[in-house]
Subunit: 300 residues, 2 copies
């Protein structure tokens, strides 16, 4: 199977590529990691796009994306990379293949601010509050339309907070959710910008990569008409997460909770989640907090 | 109140302008109708946009749009006019005013193909099947995000089939819904591309213009978080509509129903509609079929 993978050198792409061994993979990113064969370039560049699809296409894993803070800092580039590139890649894929599978890395940011007292399920309306979330929602909408008209076979996967992102920092307001793993494991003092009772939705990068690859083989007919699935995620309280990391590492946690309302609202005030459609289609979470921590520590 | 009106020379804009007497109106369109004072130009041109907002903004009525068939024929221009211009106008309006009201002329095309046996209400998920419908849905999404962050006070109104559009033809696959009024009233033979039992959603241009202007004064807090309302519409069977036009004109209808499945599906296979949020906010339909016909005949 010939699979085009965008964002191949990002933290998710790096975890996905080893899972595609045996396939004919065309990787792309601004710069490709050492040892990765592919076509480097700007995903918003029409010439790069054409090059990616020159020899046909059976599937696309479209992971390339600017993170939220980077989009907020450069909204025009955000439109190009996070929305228009998806539009262009969809058109190229439809031309190059026979209704290829198109997997889009969307985000729970499409949901926006959620009332803390009501569960999220597949019927929850989208109400993004960030440019990032709005662009992901708009790309979902455009891709679903390509699915309905038969040009592509689309699955958009809404990713929760992924941990641990190596070198998380630039462009990620949620970086603390990644850096806390290594810091707590090393016994260092950690200041968290959320309360002990805060509740993020989390998934390890490893399980996220499994889910992306699983999406390549999910039958068309099992998915809802909007073609977007909110992936199952764990929802630990921060204090539970801190304790699990310390237990995994055998250290004593030294954590100070210094809640910043905007950060907690954006990244760690998520209500209970009921991902029925995604679970029915075989997508999965890390299952247990201990497993989430173990998976996250592989990368931190 | 300083009101920027885009698409001011379109069939809806022409009906809206007289209702804004007494306001400081800045009209724009590719070409302005004789007697209309404003700034002619391409709504996708950043220089035109800047000129429109140079002296401030209390409200925007964004009516400019390429019709569906025109978008299908030139998708790249469709993105520019039907999506990106809305993005740019929103940014300009937010800069030029103090959280101005932004009224967007959206479309029931955002809903896509609807199962005939289930009513549509405010919770019906969007599933556009045309580029036109997808772009309207994406623009709704982007504008709602501007509302949530406080930059604008947004209302998107999803318009049903508007009758009668003067000179309807180019770019409108639904032109038969407009041309049938004059033809039946004149006693001419009419061939309709739908069945006698087909059910369009219809509103007169006059009531649509009333609703657009009503949106300028609707309080912010009464609307759902998605900021988009499916306007109430009449849902006559085609045979009832034909009879009502003939009765209004005092003619004998000569109609041949030559159903084309794709046309009927796109424009005249709508299920019952329950527009609760729009009705609660004071928007209205033509109320009776006789009134719809009388209003439509004013223009045909």
């Amino acid at each position: 199977m010939r699979i085009i993978v965008t964002g191949a050198s990002g933290f998710l792409g790096q975890a996905v590529l080893p899972l595609l061994a045996g396939h004919d993979v065309v990787a792309t990113d601004l710069m490709l990691s050492p040892g990765v064969i592919g076509v480097p370039g700007d995903i918003a560049d029409p010439q790069l796009q054409a090059a990616l699809f020159a020899d046909g296409c059976d599937a696309v894993l479209h992971l390339a994306s600017m993170p939220g803070a980077a989009v907020a800092a450069n909204p025009a580039r955000g439109w190009q990379v996070n929305l228009h590139a998806a539009h262009d890649l969809a058109a190229q894929a439809a031309r190059a293949g026979n209704r290829p599978r198109f997997v889009f890395a969307s985000s729970i940011a499409v949901l926006g601010e959620l009332p803390p007292d009501r569960s999220v399920d597949d019927a929850t309306p989208l109400a993004p509050v960030s440019d990032y979330g709005a662009l992901k929602a708009m790309a979902e909408c455009w891709l679903a339309r390509q699915h309905r008209t038969g040009a592509l076979s689309v699955i958009s996967l809404r990713l929760p907070g992924l941990v641990a992102r190596p070198g998380a920092g630039e462009g990620f307001g949620s970086a603390f959710l990644s850096t806390m793993f290594g810091a707590i494991a090393a016994g260092r003092h950690v200041e968290l910008p959320v309360s002990a009772a805060a509740t993020p939705w989390l998934m390890s990068v490893r399980i996220a990569a499994d889910n992306m690859v699983h999406a390549l083989g999910v039958p068309d007919l099992t998915l809802p008409d909007i073609r977007a699935l909110t992936l199952p995620a764990l929802r630990p309280r921060m204090a539970e997460l801190v304790a699990a990391i310390a237990a995994h590492a055998g250290t004593q946690p030294q954590v100070h909770y210094n809640r910043q309302a905007a950060v907690e609202q954006a990244f760690a005030a998520y209500p209970p989640l009921c991902s029925q459609a995604a679970i029915a289609a075989g997508f999965r979470s890390d299952e247990t907090l201990a497993a989430l921590v173990a998976h996250a520590m592989e990368l931190s």
